[in-house]
């Protein structure tokens, strides 16, 4: 018994360091202007996959991401931590995808990976917080889904048992393989990079990256095929073009507004004892407090 696992991951702008030029006029995100990180909950998902791989020899963990060329960074990051290989889905056909078009593209790529027992992904990505891609991929593949996993309690040849973290409680559920599971931020954090693997995969690269760097390491990649990160464009996956990118995205951004708050007539205070005491007296007198 061993498993074929795909982890879906996304490189996201670090929304805690967002500047003013983060959005383009058409309402899409100006990714180039932001520091990019491994979406946190996708790391939790990767950890769950690596744990299964540790327990069940022969298990293979693939990492699949859709994004621009630089998203290969998170594939390398996954290889450093123990993933077996990585796939980057990239190309202008995918540009402008909303969650549905993204899910469609990912589902086509997963089909190409062959027999898969388990698909793991983070509950949601921090740039949109929609939590929609996981369930939508499951639906596109006709698979059952288990969302908000905090722990995979057991996985057997046929079934997976998962502890789910809900808004106000926990649930333990069991479902049949193959299945898609979305993993919560409350699950175990991802292990750090492994020094040996980091050394081994340092030069792992996609064809685009090799081309960009212009360096001629053909021998290196021939001798070490595991350093080749697979890159797929739309032509490499079986798909119907009308479901990809903008045309496959039912939601459109109508407009983006800057909100201008009508500045209230506000009182400015310092933190001095006198001013704070006056404030408290005022609030008590007008029955806001007390």
């Amino acid at each position: 018994m061993s498993f074929n696992i795909v982890v879906l991951a996304k490189q996201v702008p670090d929304t805690r360091n967002v500047g003013k030029d983060a959005m383009k006029a058409d309402g899409t995100v100006n990714r180039a202007a932001l520091p990019a990180i491994f979406n946190p909950e996708d790391l939790n998902a990767l950890e769950q996959a690596l744990r299964i791989k540790e327990k069940v020899p022969g298990t293979v963990v693939h990492l699949l991401t859709m994004g621009p060329v630089r998203a290969a960074e998170i594939i390398r990051e996954s290889l450093y931590r123990g993933a077996d290989d990585g796939f980057l889905l990239s190309g202008r056909e995918f540009a402008g995808s909303d969650t549905l078009a993204t899910s469609y593209a990912l589902s086509c790529a997963i089909r190409k990976l062959g027999k898969i027992d388990l698909i793991l992904c983070g509950r949601q990505a921090i740039d949109g917080d929609t939590a929609q891609v996981g369930p939508q991929v499951a639906e596109k593949l006709g698979l059952p889904q288990i969302t908000y996993a905090e722990d995979i309690i057991e996985i057997t040849k046929k079934n997976i048992t998962v502890k789910r973290r809900l808004e106000r409680g926990v649930e333990i559920v069991k479902g049949p393989l193959p299945i898609l599971v979305t993993v919560n931020g409350t699950a175990a954090p991802c292990r750090p990079r492994n020094a040996k693997l980091t050394l081994k995969y340092k030069h792992a690269a996609t064809p685009s990256e090799k081309q960009e760097s212009g360096s001629d390491y053909t021998d290196l990649y021939d001798a070490h095929p595991y350093l080749n990160i697979t890159e797929w464009g739309a032509n490499d996956i079986e798909h119907d073009p009308k479901w990809l990118g903008l045309s496959g995205s039912p939601t459109k951004v109508k407009k983006i507004d800057n909100i201008v708050f009508t500045a209230k007539e506000s009182k400015r205070l310092t933190g001095s004892d006198f001013e704070i005491e006056s404030l408290m007296k005022e609030l008590i007198a007008n029955h806001t407090i007390g």
């Binding site: 407009k255 506000s266 005491e277």
Partner: protein, 339 residues
């Protein structure tokens, strides 16, 4: 046909507030669109549902009653909605942005290719012009939500696909009885036509749902802390102030992420929406996602070391200072003046 549908979330036979809030909003949108408000209840022993929802103006209530629908698992509920929506062709479908709604909504929208906007903070009706295609769409659902990056709000539309789907968090809309005596039509669905045995593949082995202990939604006073509070230790000052004032403690997402406060306390677009009498924002910068959840507070006091913090724009009182210095004084002078 082409009506507005609300999925009713039910726990222990009680329709959740978030669904009643959506019915109230749905009623006013349906009126603008000149269509009916319909609701779907999927569960077991649903006899008590009609009287809970008809006062909110539901005109048609669909009941899918089967023992196997409880506890909730994704596919059976999704199948009922998918098939029902294929028959009824709603123009709009609304769900709560709860753990359940966010598990169910995307599954349904994917099957119907209908597009879904999560965590809307406002819903309106309006027109949309697709300049490239030279087409004007009348009376679409504007799905409005803050978008990350500065003070921006995005209006999303689904021009071509139906239903236009959106999720909304609890507390964002206000529930209001339309008419206590209002009743509507009940339609009982023949369950076997909507679900198949293959839908029941997930087995719920154990389930513990706690009643919420923290009730920030109905607290009249909220002392809320952000990343600027600095530590969980410093948060104790907020608890102390909340305690003496008879309020609750809230938090920004940055404070929750940093582990200063529990997730249930998060206020904002992806937390709870609150409208207290008094909101004291301590060390909160005031990003749009936070403000979306508290701007309707009757009075806002901002305590921030930065005299130009964005939160100041919506504050009635701006205290420029450090949380650690200001809060002890507020506690002290409150006590002194109420003795």
């Amino acid at each position: 046909m082409n009506n507005l549908f609300v999925y009713l979330e039910i726990e222990d036979g009680i329709v959740k507030d978030v669904s009643l809030e959506l019915l109230t909003k749905g009623r006013s949108l349906a009126k603008q669109l000149n269509c009916k408000l319909e609701a779907v209840a999927i569960g077991y022993q649903l006899e008590n549902i009609p009287k809970q929802v008809f006062p909110y103006g539901v005109e048609v209530l669909h009941l899918a009653d089967d023992k196997r629908f409880v506890p909730y698992t994704t596919q059976p509920h999704a199948s009922v909605l998918i098939h029902l929506f294929k028959e009824e062709k709603p123009q709009i479908a609304l769900l709560g942005a709860t753990s359940l709604g966010r598990d169910l909504g995307p599954r349904v929208s994917s099957a119907l290719f209908s597009g879904l906007t999560a965590d809307c903070t406002s819903l309106e009706i309006g027109d949309y012009e697709d300049k490239k295609a030279g087409k004007v769409y009348k009376n679409l659902l504007y799905q409005i939500r803050p978008a990350f990056g500065g003070n921006i709000v995005a209006t999303i539309v689904n021009p071509d696909c139906r239903p236009q789907m959106a999720t909304v968090r609890e507390g964002v809309m206000k529930k209001e009885i339309f008419d206590p005596k209002h009743t509507g039509e009940i339609r009982r669905l023949e369950v076997s036509k909507y679900v198949s045995d293959q839908d029941f593949v997930i087995e719920v082995i154990e389930r513990h749902i706690e009643k919420t202990k923290i009730d920030i939604k109905s607290a009249p006073i909220i002392v809320s802390g952000g990343y600027g509070v600095g530590s969980a230790e410093n948060f104790k000052l907020l608890y102390e102030l909340a305690e003496v004032l008879g309020g609750e403690v809230g938090a920004s997402r940055a404070a929750v992420d940093a582990g200063f406060a529990e997730h249930e306390r998060q206020i904002g677009q992806t937390g709870t929406t609150v409208r207290p009498k008094l909101y004291i924002a301590c060390g909160i910068s005031g990003q749009i996602q936070h403000i979306a959840g508290m701007q309707e507070s009757a009075m806002i006091i901002a305590i921030n070391s930065d005299p130009n913090a964005p939160i100041n724009k919506i504050a009635d009182y701006i205290i420029t200072g450090r949380v650690e210095d200001v809060l002890p004084k507020m506690i002290k002078y409150y006590k002194k003046n109420t003795k």
